[in-house]
Symmetry: C2
Subunit: 178 residues, 2 copies
Amino acid sequence: MSIDEEQLLLKLFTEKKIEKGDHFLTEGHVCKSLAMIGKGLVRYYINDDGNERTYYFNRDGDFICDYESFLPQAPTNKNIQALEDTTLYLVSYNGLQQIYHDLKEGERFGRLGIEQVFVNVIQQLSSLYNDSPELRYRRFLDTFSDISQRVPQYYIASYVGIKPQSLSRIRKRAAQHH
Amino acid sequence: MSIDEEQLLLKLFTEKKIEKGDHFLTEGHVCKSLAMIGKGLVRYYINDDGNERTYYFNRDGDFICDYESFLPQAPTNKNIQALEDTTLYLVSYNGLQQIYHDLKEGERFGRLGIEQVFVNVIQQLSSLYNDSPELRYRRFLDTFSDISQRVPQYYIASYVGIKPQSLSRIRKRAAQHH
């Protein structure tokens, strides 16, 4: 990257801190920014008739975004909430278009980025509908091994799709196999 | 586009005809090409323990691809079959990379294309799991109004997620409202 390009990025990304419990995105609103997490942890959830179903997490170094809302700039049915005090670096939808346009490799990074997100989201959805709780829990440990101690048990249970008591049983059984 | 760019496209796309009943892609294989349909019709389906579940169609002018297999070049669990004699214009995975690289607007078209596919696939999946049969049938008529006469009824029923007899009832009820 040239110095001009670095300065453009510095201009387009702004720092924002959100507190534990605060929301980055709430249902009914448009996801207007893409955010990199400097430090922190968030969960993604859907409000299913008052029952919060947690389906994903992002932590330090990850990008936060609901692309289904961000790409067409349409209202979301999802929520993204900080589980710890979190430091974000935000870029707006228009800022991102400027990056695509003005950076020499902007379009290429954009294409490769969205391709990766695409495959990732499809795999998540497919797992959500097809995998047994045991497999979901193993996938959680694979994907989020670095944060498994930072996520409260009831959110892990929600991600797996079961009650916290059932998660305890799965954990005990898994422990016996090691 | 410059003349050089047009000639590159002509070089990279090859014509292929497949007959009614033939497969463009079968489960266990890698989706190695993206194809534009010159003329014809295909259905996408998943083999669910011997029960074929049809979940999408492409027709004249559409691009055919299983991106979930094509992007990472990994084996698919899907099938794509011609419902009519179909003329395709194929470009290979490597050919597409060349288009991204060599065409001035290649990366940009690639990014915009995959963004559109992304939103479309998420909406399909969401509809598949959340919509009632009545709504699924209405969405079929909205999305595929131009081909509703060309798709056999049992594939429409499969797309809606019901038996052909139930589809007849939904069609009769819908007709009464008009």
